[in-house]
Symmetry: C2
Subunit: 630 residues, 2 copies
């Protein structure tokens, strides 16, 4: 499947879909009345508010996520602050590396809808796609037709567009004469733009802070406390749901590229030598559509269907723990109503990966905007814990007793301190530090050299006379292999991180469950599953009874016709509607209507309340209700 369709397989017409979500206030541009006001100047793109049904849908998705991951696996949930001091993000690499490549349109006085700044990779993508669509080679309609070689060339670039760095993007812009499509201006070469929002904390303005771009850093910094809380037992996971921020260069495409968004993230801490997973068997038969690195670099886009078990065995997925989470992600998406025929797992290309990741698979969902990254599963290795530990001096490791003591052979260097002191005087300490910091490989080769030549040069920083190394003879330096007994093992855990963009999932889900009644394209329905649907309109007394049972619902006492009310329910994705009419007063019976089939049953109020509660809890189904009620 490569282009978006409605749930019933018809062409997806975005303008009808957008009219529904706007009319029903699922979400709306933030500060709309300001944006539309002639007095307002400034940039407020990429910010969205969720209205009542969107807010409820979002809460239900997060609730389902918590049950599926956090509660199911006893993950340790945290709520960390968004405001983050600069040194933390300096250490994590975000201050230096968390950037996109940006091109400025230098020609003043011609402001474009997208502003004067363009994200370089998106610019190239848009221009090449437009050329492919038009079938021409250049900027104008009259440009010569594209030949097959050029078409292949463009498609090849597009398939690996995420793999270009700044120089690569600059080269493409030059080679293919890429310009601002809105005004045909040439653009300046790409420069990096850091995506974090910056501020200062406290009254003195001397303490810079950023809004976190991900929830993970707060989790990592609590690692030692969490390990203690978990009574020292490994592996375990922490989890966090919270707002995160990225100052996108040029946000468009609605909810899919926003500057403030809800992330739900899991950090699973695992022994790097034991990446098996205890519950792997539960997901090993789940079938995943996998688009690996090699396939993409070959310019192809058709995923391979493999079970999690096969993919791990074939080493397409690196290890059991990563495979386990990819399987669990698919099951979660299925639970909340995502169309599985519109899901694929795509492996990141080498240059595309975040600076902290050593491998990454994205769960992508097909929408009318193309394939959208909704869940990222990164293997962050020991990167974060290592850098934070180095900066702060805090130990972020796991120590475990070995089942039995082990013998370790290692190279050891010893200095004759009696001779070194008088020989190097003030430099003696620098020499000693340099020797202590030699690694095993270096020691091994130095041992050979020392035996052969009787003297070696050791790189030594901080010498008084400004030279960079010292010569040590075998009288001063002694290198030998020794055997040491160890009773414990100390390691920095690796981190597997499934990271969920809740807003993107919510938007893609809405596209997936959208369809129209066959008789009229404007009669829209959102077939959201009962577990996540915002609410269930109902009459007053029944509403009160369901509320007491914890079932979210909405009463519609307007004077609208019954047809209009049902249409409203359909567009809100309301799975069940109860109608109270004259017969209710007379016989105490009410009508229960199911959204997708539009079929109705009639029965006593008590039976209907019990049926609704049962269906919400998952202990009853509409088919069973249909069978037993008239």
């Amino acid at each position: 499947m490569t282009s978006a369709t409605t749930l019933t397989g018809h062409k997806f017409e975005r303008q009808f879909f957008e009219a529904v979500v706007k009319r029903r206030l699922f979400f709306t541009e933030t500060f709309d009345i300001y944006r539309l006001s002639p007095n307002f100047k400034g940039d407020n793109r990429g910010l969205f508010d969720y209205g009542p049904p969107g807010c409820a849908l979002q809460a239900n998705i997060v609730d389902a996520w918590r049950k599926h991951f956090v509660l199911e696996e006893n993950m340790l949930e945290l709520d960390c602050t968004v405001v983050t001091p600069e040194p933390v993000l300096q250490t994590s690499g975000h201050v230096d590396k968390f950037a996109d490549w940006m091109c400025k349109d230098p020609i003043k006085g011609k402001p474009t809808a997208s502003g004067d700044y363009l994200r370089a990779d998106h610019l190239i993508e848009n221009v090449l796609k437009a050329r492919l669509d038009r079938g021409t080679g250049g900027l104008t309609k009259d440009a010569p037709k594209l030949d097959q070689a050029t078409i292949d060339e463009y498609n090849n670039i597009l398939a690996k567009i995420d793999n270009y760095d700044g120089d690569g993007l600059a080269e493409l812009i030059k080679q293919y004469d890429i310009r601002n499509p809105e005004n045909n201006n040439e653009v300046l070469p790409p420069v990096p733009f850091n995506l974090m929002f910056k501020s200062t904390i406290g009254p003195s303005a001397a303490s810079p802070v950023y809004l976190r771009p991900e929830t993970s850093q707060g989790q990592f910094l609590n690692f030692k406390k969490l390990l203690e809380y978990n009574q020292g037992s490994m592996p375990f996971a922490s989890a966090s749901v919270g707002k995160s921020y990225r100052n996108e260069i040029s946000p468009r495409t609605g909810l899919l590229r926003v500057r403030e968004f809800l992330l739900a993230e899991i950090e699973h801490y695992v022994d790097p030598d034991k990446k098996q997973h205890l519950r792997f068997g539960e997901v090993s038969d789940v079938i995943l559509p996998l688009l690996d690195r090699e396939t993409q670099l070959a310019g192809k886009t058709t995923p391979q269907k493999l079970t999690v078990g096969q993919a791990v065995e074939l080493k397409i997925i690196d290890n059991e723990t990563l495979g386990y989470f990819l399987g669990r992600v698919l099951l979660f998406l299925q639970n909340i109503g995502v169309d599985l025929s519109k899901v694929r797992f795509r492996q990141h290309l080498a240059n595309e990966m975040a600076h902290y990741a050593c491998d990454c698979w994205d769960a992508e969902l097909l929408t009318s905007y193309g394939w959208v990254e909704c869940v990222g599963c990164a293997d962050r290795s020991a990167y974060d814990l290592t850098v934070h530990s180095k900066y702060t001096g805090a130990s972020l490791t796991v120590k475990e007793a070995l089942p039995e003591p082990a013998k370790v052979e290692e190279w050891q260097a010893t200095l004759d301190k009696k001779l070194v002191g008088p020989r190097f005087k003030k430099d003696a300490k620098a020499v000693q530090t340099a020797v202590e910091e030699l690694d095993q490989t270096t020691l091994e080769s130095l041992a050979t050299e020392l035996a052969e030549k009787g003297v070696v040069a050791i790189k030594t920083p901080g010498l008084a006379d400004g030279s960079t190394s010292v010569a040590l003879s075998k009288e001063l330096l002694f290198i030998a292999k020794v055997t040491r007994q160890v009773n414990t093992r100390e390691y920095t855990p690796n981190v597997i991180e499934p990271s969920f963009g809740i807003g993107r999932i919510l938007y893609s889900l809405l596209e997936h469950v959208y369809w129209s009644r066959p008789d009229a394209v404007e009669r829209a329905v959102l077939s959201l599953p009962l577990a996540v649907a915002p609410n269930k309109p109902i009459a007053h007394r029944i509403s009160t009874r369901l509320r007491k049972l914890g079932v979210a619902n909405m009463m519609d006492s307007s004077s609208a016709s019954i047809g209009k009310r049902y249409a409203r329910d359909d567009e809100l994705g309301t799975p069940l509607s109860v109608t109270v009419d004259f017969d209710t007063l007379k016989y105490g019976s009410v009508t229960l209507r199911e959204r997708d089939t539009m079929r109705q049953v009639r029965g006593p109020e008590d039976d209907v309340v019990r049926a609704i509660k049962g269906m919400v809890d998952g202990t009853d189904t509409w088919e069973q209700v249909l069978n037993r009620m008239p």
Copy 2:
């Protein structure tokens, strides 16, 4: 009650309490390993992370809040962005007025623990309280004893400390020789410090934004869409739960004064002429401890106990809607386990109120830090909707059809355009605008003057010759009373805003439910009610069964003794513990232990699971379980 006690009425020892919440990771200072690192410089005070039990307790309190308010009254919940463009907060008054008074300690080279900046009102409060505690009149121990008149004077200032503006605070600092208590330095006069975090959005740096200091503005800006969503029906409420930010000058006192915090806010939109509330009867008998403005200005602090009904009748509480919410707030606090003997409702003093409020009552909870504002109930009148409407030009009003057409008598001014044009030439338009903008009171007095003198002066801005008024004779201007028929009424709703600081409520609640076993002060218990307690430790199979029923729980498979495990459960506030032992394997029976009474029952696994689920749902009680199980 004026000083903090444990739940069992013993002296509250903060160091023991803090040890428990720290040990059990309810919350912890953010970026702790950075704060403790010698490499770290900068300010990260006032930021806290919630660990697993704190995070669960917070989620349960928010869940209880949603059920009690949002679900119960069909409020329209929104999730709006934190990032807010400057014009919005300029219009709302926050850019100019959302500030605290700050004193700088000018002496360099002597950094104090609290930094170089002090919040003026807190500084005065701390110094005067210390003098009262010491019983001396000045900075040193040897200063003369306080006489009764001075003691009364100090107490009087403290009772109304929130009522001083910048000049008032400066005067107090001078008059009472208030100095930085940490180093005895004199401080500079107070200056305003804006409490909002500032940043910029987009790549051009030309668009300043702030982190919202409250969730309300996003709700107000969606008013028109919400009114439509609610099918035009009034009154109704919107609600929002989300992070908000205040760059506090000098945060101390743990969770009680933080720079990033969770707010749960309700904006109830009501016709200013109809502030009755349909469900007022449900709370009119609830008894509130009220500390009104007059009592405080008299220097007194003893609240008056009145029912909501009495307080509204006596006009102590302004109207039914405000009274309704104060009653509902008390019931909510009771639900989640707050000690009602440690609650009071305090009315804001005139200068203390936020710039947008015309009346405000705080629900304050007694803690070891004194009385803490946890819920604010402000009447924001039509302030916010009016200013946003004025800036944007968007209509933020309600139009309602009158039950029958009404006749309105009003003064009307008419200019003879044929004469005005030639007479005033270029100024004619300015004159016409000036006349159109005259209000009813002015028109009435002008009518009399015109009849008496035959000519009136009208203030007219923008005249060509720079003069400020024109003379209009009765030949040019005609003023008369006319009768007009109107079919609709248009009004800007008033807003009643109950605003909940979730972190403060959580902290105060923890203090309220804390006590020690009589035999040992270090054996701490947190008697959190079942509805909000973080979790319920349990053995594996039972854990799985309860999880399927949606009951959050935690399994403890450590090798710790049963006594240590129960102690851990007590400190986590875990209401029920299940123990699986050798008898379980033999007879299939397990032990269920209740936290507060430490009593245990033993029974088959099925019965115990059913009992736990029943107690969590509120359909069963521990007393009933005790009665039917051995």
